[in-house]
């Protein structure tokens, strides 16, 4: 169970994340949405110990993240950030094998190999597994990194805008895989998303941030409506129902 208490981060004089408190519901996809500069990525970075909070704390199983040994934490929570440029000569399969590092410190056991194989299956990377990652397209590389996180096999999977650089087909593919991780393997996924329709269709819960403050936190259906969205984005966003999915039609909306 991840709890966030009064978490604050300042950059200069601005509170990028401002006293945010919430709990992450287990075995669900939680999407973090909000306008640019709302503090979504910063919040995720603090939860995953990439960034130290100025005040407040993050608790994993009632224990503050700072007290966790980094390698133990890596077996429970994984994080993938947006920019994954790398100039290292490494094949897709070797990259995915790094996901097992917290368990085996570089020496793969049979168990580890099974997880790597499974991650390749999940992300459908068989054809690419022997290619070097610097030869891949942005989207392919993104999939390889997600596969690494899947191989890491943590209860919590945190992803910072994983759909960046991806076309519709691969975006949908990845969201479906995340759904499978939750529904079949009982993982907890927290994901920063820009496209609210992906958030609406695939997530169980939504957290909305604005200017560093938590403005909404609840089940998806309570948040995807014009009223709440106006509060978050300051614009009128009509919501239409389509085959049971709520779609936000914001393309020629007037503020």
């Amino acid at each position: 169970m991840i709890e966030i208490k009064e978490l604050t981060k300042r950059f200069g004089k601005k509170n990028v994340v401002d006293k945010v408190s919430l709990e992450i519901q287990p075995r669900a996809i939680t999407s973090i949405i909000g306008p640019n500069g709302a503090g979504k990525s910063t919040l995720l970075s603090m939860v995953s110990r990439l960034l130290d909070a100025d005040t407040g704390e993050v608790l994993l199983d009632q224990r503050t993240v700072k007290k966790w040994k980094s390698e133990e934490f890596a077996k429970r929570v994984s994080i993938l950030k947006q920019s994954n440029y790398t100039n290292v000569r490494i094949t897709v399969r070797d990259l995915i094998s790094f996901g097992r590092y917290p368990y085996s410190k570089g020496r793969l056991t049979e168990e580890d190999k099974k997880h790597v194989e499974q991650a390749i299956d999940y992300m459908n990377l068989h054809d690419l597994q022997d290619q070097f990652i610097d030869e891949l397209s942005g989207g392919q590389r993104q999939r390889a990194f997600i596969a690494m996180v899947i191989a890491q096999d943590t209860d919590y999977v945190l992803l910072d805008e994983p759909l960046n650089n991806l076309d519709m087909k691969h975006s949908v593919q990845i969201m479906k895989i995340l759904r499978k991780l939750v529904d079949e393997l009982g993982k907890t996924v927290v994901i920063v998303l820009h496209d609210i329709n992906f958030a609406s269709v695939y997530s169980d819960r939504i957290i909305a941030l604005k200017n560093g403050k938590l403005v909404k936190n609840g089940p998806t259906k309570e948040i995807i409506n014009s009223e709440s969205l106006r509060e978050i984005y300051d614009m009128h966003i009509p919501v239409q129902e389509q085959n049971g999915c709520r779609i936000c039609v914001y393309f020629n909306s007037h503020a």
Binding site: V88, R89, F98, Y101, M148
Partner: protein
Amino acid sequence: MRSNQTKIIFLAVLAIICMLLYGFYDIKGGFDYAFPRRVIKIAAMVVTGIAISYSTVVFQTITHNRILTPSVMGMDSMYEVVQTLIYFFAGSMSIWVVNRYLNFGAAIIAMVLFALILYRFLFRTNKYPIYLLLLIGMILGTLLGSFVTFLQVLIDPVEYLSLQTRLFASFTNVKAELLYIAMGILLIAFIYGFQIMSKLDVMSLGRENAINLGINYDRMVMNILILSSVLIATSTALVGPITFLGLIVANLSYQYLATHKHSTLILGASLISVIALVGGQFLAEHIFELRTTISVIINFVGGIYFIYLLLKESRSAG
């Protein structure tokens, strides 16, 4: 990887051929006199080569670049500063020069301190672009270089001649006792370095991925920078500055071996170093008949390679 194994064996064979050639070629005078001295020189070159390769490769991994090396960042200039200051204030007959151990120790400590202060500023955050860092390193090198020149013109000319021999890399007058100390330092560094090989592999994926995989990143960076400075300082204090060697061997190793595994990369770079140093020394002694020194040859080749890397990098960045 089978092909990399073959490549490493090829490099090892080449290195051994260079060593044998250097050790046995055209021995004049008594074998018993010449051979042990050559062995000491070879040992010095192997120690230096490994130390420079190791420190450069790990430095480049944690700074995520392939152009900066500890030497380029001003370590070599710092060595010149230390030696010049000693000659300037204490003189060539002082204990700081005559006592080899003291001189060796002072040079190492000063360089490591300099490196740590500099790195704390530069690499604490990832926000400086590599060209800015390179520029800072170059300017710092020039600044220290000018400072050294200023002191050198004030020194007594005879003292200066004696100082000058210190400022060029040379394997000819390596003292065996210092070599043993350097080997000891290398051994300690390797015992630590061996445990962190796989961590280095993970760290090459970048800070965020490394932390995600449970690496205590910021502390590891500091540890590795210390390790890298100790090694480069040891090699520089032992034989003098060979600025571009690290850059050449590290990049040749990345290019030739095309892997992310540091155990392979470092081994490859070390073997290439040994080939370059022993082979280069052989050329300097027997082909150029000591009319030029090995550091001149290596810096000439290395300088050209450095420009090539800069051009390549700027093309791929643009």
